[in-house]
Amino acid sequence: MPQGAAANGSDCAPVLKEKGQREVFCGLTGIIWLHRKIQDAFFLIVGSRTCAHLMQSAAGVMIFAEPRFGTAIMEERDLAGLADANEELDRIVNQLLERRPEIKTLFLVGSCPSEVIKLDLAKAAQRLGGQYAPNVRVLNYSGSGIETTFTEGEDACLASLVPEMPTLPEDAPKNLILVGSLPDIVEDQFMRLFAKIGIDNVASLPERSVDKLPGIGPNTHFLLAQPFLGDTGQRLLERGAKRIDALFPFGVEGTTDWLTAAATTFGIDAGHVAEVLLPYQERARRGLQHQRERLEGKTIFFMPDSQLEVPLARFLANEMGTVLTEVGTPYLHRTHLTKELEHMPPGVQLSEGQHVDKQLERVRATKPDLTVCGLGLANPLENEGLSTKWAIELVFSPIHGFDQAGDLAELFARPMRRRDVLKV
């Protein structure tokens, strides 16, 4: 949870800190998008039947083909002695790799039970990695609910990749890494834009294959595409890369700032950048126009879920004229969000952590036009006459960049539009 980062952004509005029952997914669920993004990898959760059931419930409605993830379900006898658990894990990995010979990278993913019994997955990864090298690389990270919430699972996964990144020589030319898994279509758009701006040496973390991890050296700069990558950012800094501080690329404002910050770092003429971006900005604004009519003056309440809340709220307030009643986030990474907090309208109520019942009381008291919340809460709130938006949709939909700005606004506008058309 807390990353121990310097509290640079402590000048923003007071934050309500809460502790209590949380209504968020654990970090294991990051696997649902990571296994599609990283195509040569398999994610093996070492956990309980609950973990397998969670993945099935969270993913089962979306994925019909056999996914590239699975669970090694621990049973009574695995708890008897850790030596046995290790033997069992080796047997499962063996069985898996025999059945899926196309796997090039295997992530052993820690869960609550494996953390509590202190099953050392780092050691297991080392042991198995030695055994299956060079065909299969074995890495590990924790997605457990006692360590991580929801999107922090991606952070933990990407952080585990940082030590695997090849080291670039000191005199290597400047390179840029976009950090955070983006939908392929969005990633491609950004690559085209960077090329037009004049930055060619751009890679992503993660790339679509672990084999193609970008190199890192003293001339490496990185741009976070997601606000929840605290550990990954830290590890990149430790390896000498430099973070480019920028707004996150949501809406015209955020995307412009994100791209321009990179261009500035790479010493590109500001006039040229402005010229390149202008048609994209205009197109994005056209896309936003209709939605602005629907969203202007509407009140919105963000329940904490993905850590995307702050930049999304900034976009809604500044570009859509939406009124923010409360912006909850599971964890507020002040360093990465310094700029975002500066761009928020003054006096916005931020909350960090969660006590779900108290939050629901505030939702009922403020009666927002829209509440962004987790899957478990949406129908009960709809039943109380409140329009909701599944927070997870914002994680699963392409929402970054100019050409998705209209779609992003539409995601918020749709529940209200629906409320208006229904006569039942």
């Binding site: 949870m1 209590g20 029952q21 949380r22 209504e23 968020v24 997914f25 654990c26 970090g27 195509q39 309980s48 039947r49 609950t50 397998a52 059931h53 969670l54 099935q56 419930s57 969270a58 089962g60 409605v61 019909f64 083909a65 056999e66 699975g70 669970t71 090694a72 379900i73 621990m74 049973e75 009574e76 695995d78 708890l79 658990a85 069992e88 894990l89 047997r91 499962i92 069985q95 059945r99 196309e102 609550c112 039970p113 953390e115 509590v116 019994i117 457990s144 609910g145 006692i146 360590e147 919430t149 019942d357 987790g374 899957l375 478990g376 809460l377 949406a378 129908n379 009960p380 039943n383």
Partner: protein, 547 residues
Amino acid sequence: MQLAVWTYEGPPHVGAMRVATGMKGVHYLLHSPQGDTYADLLFTMIERRDHRPPVTYTTFQARDLGKDTSQLFQDAALDSLERFKPDAMLVGASCTAELIQDDPAGLIEKMGLPIPVIPLELPSYQRKENWGAAETFYQIVRSLADKERTPSDREATGRRPLANLLGPTALGFRHRDDIVEITRLLDGLGVDVNVTAPMGATAADIARLGEADFNIVMYPEIGEMAADYLKRTFRQPMVKTVPIGIGATQDFVREVAEIAGVDPEPMLERNLSRMSWWSRSIDSNYLTGKRVFIFGDATHAVAAARIASEELGYKVCGFGCYNREFARDVRAAAKKYDVEPLITDDHLAVEKAIEEAQPELILGTQMERHIAKRFSLPCAVISAPVHVQDFPARFSPQMGFEGANVIFDDWVHPLVMGLEEHLLTMFRDDFEFSDEAGPSHLGHSILPGTGRGTVEDGGGAQAVRSDHQNKETTLPHVPLHQPAAGPPPHAGEDETIWTDEAMKELKKIPFFVRGKARRNTETYAAEHGVTTIELDTLYDAKAHYAK
């Protein structure tokens, strides 16, 4: 450890949640880490419930582990008591909390709460969801059923016989509608329902279970343990026939009538289901001997096998269940249908068995729906675990006479119907009758390019289309039991070679029987030492297997 991609059952505390959520005024305090709250969405999203399940999770995190998680637990207990004011509280631990050994039962006992508190011991690393539901319901009945309550004097009050309906829970497969149908059916027989539990019951309802004359176990997986207890404690007889299908419903009516002392004949004579006529109607002729693979929980699977075999005229070619606790029932039934029962909770083993059996229809769970989709086979769902689409808006019970009507529709519609089968054979070159088109009433049912199972011709055009589809959906098809490259064209199993002519002829056979034809021919060839399959081999095999 067990390697699982999908699981048939959740952990036992999810079973307990199904009981608590089905009931009214009962709250469940679950010692668990953050993240276990995912289970809420099963109810609010998959079942579309309009209220949050009555569960408070203690939500401990790693940083709490060094400190005092038991304090966290006690605070949550007081908080939920004050906030929700339940009539009774269930207390338990999820898999992770079980490992930190805080002893919720002991902690809650020390607190001396002013309401009945029922501690649950649900060993997560040994047992599963159905067992968890059964044990929870049993503990609730044991704790709350008032032993002083007995049936009132029937003759003196002139009342009708009274039955309890036991077993339905939240998130059950059609439990909501089965309760309505069975209550209506009992009413028609002159029997009243005393209490339905756990679904819809309050703590006060549980207290008066003893006032019924007898119990009806609707879902043995969940209700039988409690019914056994009631039989021992209150001497209430138990109706064990599960009324799914016409025959079973008739048996159920007779069994209830006997215990209740009413006449079943008027109801049986009225022939309350259309299913038997629909099944005898000439259009249903095409159903004869359709090979069906059945897999689900034991109760639904056994019922399905009887319906398939006796009431629809299908041939049961595969049969099994995932819940070992009830495997005995499945083994007994398997003998009747002359199949080897498959008792496993490994969905990959089920997939393999389905691939080998090459059925024409799968009756299964949500997992088998995944499998059917991979193999391009028609499928109907008969049992949990289920998907949001298995909670239909309309009334669609599985039990009773109306349930039999629903089942007829659900199990027949995925198939190519009646005379269309013949048209498919006759006009194979008509583009609308091609393999890609599939049954004309289900435009979407055939997924081109899943490429295995019955659509197994390795055809060029189809392969191209499959690649295209894969790119669109970004779900690359990864074969499970074959090397990624797949077999070379025209080579069958065990290196049998098909001549071009024979392969061309094979492709003229409709897709829904082609897999079987191919397999039969190759088996025949292997058995007769034929290494090259000629046109004649195909027809020799056809004659050989003709029945």
